[in-house]
């Protein structure tokens, strides 16, 4: 039996390693390719070992960009993406926690209707309402601006729902104790609800940041100037479909760079993120 156990463990580990390899290999290829010489890749002679052009390729990617297709340093694209993702994540959290607070804790006319209207927007992602949204943004002269990139994506039913559900699990007695302790609505929100929502906000931030970072269609539509390009749009533009030679090391370096901020956010907030998903601190 003991031997059996050993064999079973090896088999299990072997299968897990296969899984890891399948997931990680493309990432590995991207990293390797970003250190190779372009001519080598174009010839189909790419080695599976790191090449010697790491610094050169990344320097060019971040500060110069491709020589042909995008004409824009990826550093700037990353900045655009970062501003957009942060604005969306923070904006969404701020707006939805406030609206959830109103819906859960205040009795005002048409409260439930408003809740249902918010709920219905769940079924209307940007892709569905893209023309009216574009029209509004264009009429407000927000094309090619950070506001235009982020504002239409901020209003969020999902986050409002999440906070609503969370607020409804907060015991009423906490609100009552606060009232007796002389805390008004704003103080209760600030002193009690916000600290209690911390883990929820962290979990949402991770999800929303990645969502914002990975936006493609919307930035593609409303940005025309090269210096407002986001990294996801940039990657696509770098891959030329015409006769020109795609600069693969730079494309791969850009892809690797595009992965870094989400990875960083997940790693940095991992603890809070998991706590926000599995437990509520009450």
């Amino acid at each position: 039996m003991v031997e059996d156990e050993g064999i079973r463990r090896y088999v299990a580990h072997f299968i897990l390693w296969i899984g890891i390899a399948i997931v990680a290999f493309p990432v590995y290829i991207a990293i390797i390719a970003s250190t190779q010489d372009n001519a080598l890749i174009a010839n189909g002679q790419m080695s599976l070992l790191p090449g010697g052009h790491f610094f050169e390729v990344y320097y060019q990617t971040i500060f110069v960009g491709t020589s042909g297709s995008t004409r824009e340093p990826v550093g700037n694209m990353m900045l655009n993406s970062l501003v957009m993702a942060l604005a969306i994540a923070i904006g969404k959290i701020a707006i939805s926690i406030i609206s959830a607070y109103a819906i859960v804790y205040f009795r005002f006319p048409f409260r439930m209707s408003i809740f249902w209207i918010i709920f219905i927007t769940l079924m209307l992602p940007v892709e569905v309402r893209i023309y009216p949204t574009y029209k509004i943004v264009a009429d407000l002269h927000m094309l090619d601006s950070y506001a235009g990139l982020s504002l239409p994506l901020i209003a969020s039913a999902t986050a409002t729902l999440l906070f609503r559900q969370f607020f409804m699990t907060v015991p009423d007695e906490l609100l009552e104790a606060s009232r007796i302790d002389g805390a008004g609505p704003l103080r209760f929100f600030w002193d009690t609800l916000l600290p209690l929502s911390r883990t929820n906000m962290a979990a949402l931030f991770v999800i929303l940041f990645i969502l914002g970072w990975n936006q493609y269609l919307w930035p593609l539509l409303i940005t025309t100037r090269d210096d407002m390009q986001t990294i996801q749009v940039g990657i696509r533009k770098m891959i030329t479909t015409t006769d020109a030679l795609t600069e693969w090391p730079i494309v791969m370096a850009t892809a690797v760079l595009a992965m870094l901020p989400p990875v960083f956010v997940v790693v940095a907030m991992q603890k809070l993120f998991v706590r926000g998903l599995v437990e509520t601190e009450k």
Binding site: E176, A177, R179, I180, D181, G182, A183, R187, P195, K282
Partner: protein, 361 residues
């Protein structure tokens, strides 16, 4: 320091449900008033109305000579201890107690003095920096008490504060609460469904049922002279035996003056196993169905021959035809044995047929 007066207080919810149907209670300064009753009787609603957490739809609530119907909870000069403690989970014990004082703009030095004094009294001094989740149930309970004490309010309100504790701790905390209240001499209103807690804590006991006050008074006086069959069966454990007087078996024994009584009540401890029938008293032949020996006393559950003689539904109900007798722990009749129990005239409680009125004969 204040007295609390409820004048014809009513609460009707928007749906038309009447939770409180006109309650009049007067709690004198420094008294400990306990509201007791079965769940759904409106006792918690009444307390929350005094706290200002529920609106008052009729009548007046007066705290210290000021009608507070329209005043915010924070400005009523009250402090409340909740059943689940309602401690702020993200704040340390110190901050939990200090929060209300800070909101009132009290100087930090004064807050520190008050919190430390309360912590000393409640033996929480070593835990001031801990979070509520790091405390045991009893300790959380004490923090909740501390939060009320530091305010130095006119009135303490307790909403079943001990019901989340285990039995042993509950008794210990009960004594603590009483001692603390005596020392601070603060008017208190305490809600519980536990009649033992109610009996031991109260200066004034208010027995509630169905949104109305059944009886107000000193706990022992209520025990000795319950005004209705509801109070009779709710206060006292095991409950009072209530029997219809209709059957000639009993009525003939009672004699003239009590003739109008429809229900007779006898507490289990007022029975004695005897062959004699005391003059004007009641004697019943019983078959022993079950016995419970708890050491100092023995409870005998006996059934009577006529099964239809029990009175209609009341809390702590016995099955129809069953009688509980409490005898010294040294005795125990055998199961199935036929015994005869009797109670003297002075120990009988007589009520009108609907159970709403006590008859003194």
């Amino acid at each position: 320091m204040a007295n609390v007066t409820l004048r014809n207080v009513r609460k009707t919810y928007t749906g038309g449900f009447e939770a409180i149907k006109g309650v009049n209670v007067d709690v004198a300064d420094g008294q400990f008033c306990v509201l007791v009753g079965p769940s759904g009787c409106g006792k918690s609603t009444l307390l929350r109305m005094v706290a200002g957490l529920e609106t008052v739809t009729g009548g007046e609530i007066d705290i210290g000579g000021r009608v507070v119907n329209q005043i915010e909870p924070a400005d009523r000069d009250i402090a409340m201890v909740f059943q689940n403690y309602a401690l702020y989970p993200h704040m340390s014990v110190y901050n939990n107690m200090a929060y209300g004082l800070r909101n009132r703009g009290m100087a930090e030095a004064e807050i520190k003095t008050r919190v430390e004094e309360a912590a000393r009294v409640l033996e929480l001094s070593a835990m001031l920096e801990r979070k509520p989740r790091q405390l045991s149930g009893g300790q959380r309970q004490r923090v909740a008490m501390g939060r009320a004490i530091v305010r130095q309010p006119k009135v303490f309100l307790f909403d079943e504060p001990l019901s989340n504790l285990d039995a042993k701790l509950r008794i210990a905390m009960r004594v603590e609460i009483r001692k603390l209240q005596r020392r601070l001499n603060t008017t208190s209103i305490y809600v519980t469904h536990d009649q033992l807690e109610a009996m031991t804590l109260a200066d004034v006991l208010v027995v509630m049922n169905g949104g109305q006050v059944e009886q107000v008074g000193n706990p022992l006086a209520i025990y000795e002279k319950p005004a209705t069959t509801f109070v009779a069966s709710f206060i006292g454990a095991p409950p009072m035996n209530l029997m219809s007087t209709r059957p000639e078996e009993i009525k003939s024994q009672l004699g003239g003056a009590a003739g109008e009584a429809g229900i007779v009540g006898i507490r289990p401890e007022d029975f004695a196993i005897t062959d004699q029938t005391p003059a004007g008293g009641v004697a019943l032949p019983l078959t022993v169905e079950a016995i419970e020996r708890v050491g100092a006393e023995t409870f005998v559950y006996g059934s009577r021959e006529q099964e239809d003689q029990r009175v209609a539904a009341t809390p702590g109900e016995l099955p129809p035809g069953e009688v509980i007798v409490r005898i010294p722990g040294t005795e125990a009749p055998a199961i199935g044995q036929k015994i005869r129990v009797a109670a003297v005239r002075a120990k009988l409680h007589l009520f009108s047929g609907d159970g709403r009125k006590r008859i003194e004969a």
